[in-house]
Amino acid sequence: MIPNQRTATTALTPEAIVSSHTTAQAPVAEYALGLGDDALILAQRLGEWIANAPELEEDVALGNIGLDLLGHARSLLSYAGSAWGKSEDDLAYFRCEPEFRCRQLFEQPNGDFAQTIARQLIASVYFGELYRALQASDDPILAAIAAKAAKELAYHLDHSVQWLRRLGLGTEVSHERMQRGIDAMWPFVGELFSPDRYADAAPGIAVDPASLRDAFDALVPGLIADAGLEVPQVPFARGGGRDGIHSEALGPLLAEMQVLAREHPGASW
């Protein structure tokens, strides 16, 4: 069914995906591009914390998580690009804002440390459930990428939960900031589970976003309550990230991420 199908074990690194000359079918590539953008944009956001986190140790912790996400993005974009003869760099550096398909949560600004933790908590549960389900995909490359990512997500979630508790149950100021961070990020939760036409076009291969909602609802409100915080009662944002509709935050992020590659095309170091 899938051309040049390879064993799943060759798909663990972007380099292995490229050297295997596996070609993704068009619907698979379209779907993988959206997932890759989610991971890429959040990785770029986390990278902004390097040298800016409250302590050196948190620079490293957030950097590690960002690098894990970048690894997922590289695999997904490399695989997506195989359908169109494009490299991961072509896709990351030479697409414009409306061509990016990330859900809007991932492009939201870091804010303070608490807001970053709120965003990461939501993202880690979402990614964790997504990659758990995607391991059963009929596409062996996506299943292998998901299997590797799922293990890493367990640690990402642990990091977010530890900080959620400490900030939520810490001082008056930390509690207030953690609540404010959750309030700021919560409107973007709904979009994560809203229909994704690229997932609809790849039945058996893609994960239906709506199918992840129950697991999220079973876990996250409880974690928030355990930290002495409240689940916001707010309307969800309009969404549309998968269709190239983004908040004002994405443009500046892309400018910074892409400027070097665009000024010096083909540069390497």
């Binding site: 986190a53 140790e57 490293v60 912790a61 590690n64 303070d112 642990d158 400490r166």
Partner: protein
């Protein structure tokens, strides 16, 4: 991190000493130190800082304040005693011919 409401006096996290066991059966070896707000976060920070390249299978963290160290300035008198006491080394002794396979 400076921010509104910051009192200006920056609180710093406690210092922790990190010990890593590289594989089962080996001793824990001092890997370095780090800052963390509590022991649970110290273990996680140690994982991030000292096991990035598969260095360990187990981590201990100890508050640096819990370690009592010998006085570096007293090194001379403190460690002088073994000097000239070669009989404390096994190589000082000659083998007895009546005991084979020693």
């Amino acid at each position: 991190m400076t921010s509104p409401g910051d009192s200006g006096t920056r609180e710093t996290w406690a210092l922790w000493e990190v010990f890593i066991r590289s594989s089962r059966g080996l001793s824990y070896v001092h890997a370095g130190s780090l800052h963390a707000p509590d022991s649970e976060m110290a273990v996680r920070n140690a994982r991030d800082l000292y096991t990035r390249r598969g260095e360990g299978v187990s981590i201990w963290v100890v508050p640096a304040s819990a370690i009592t160290a010998s006085d570096p300035d007293a090194r001379g008198s403190f460690f002088e005693s073994p000097e000239g006491k070669e009989y404390r080394h096994a190589t000082y002794y000659t083998k007895t011919e009546s005991v084979p396979h020693l």
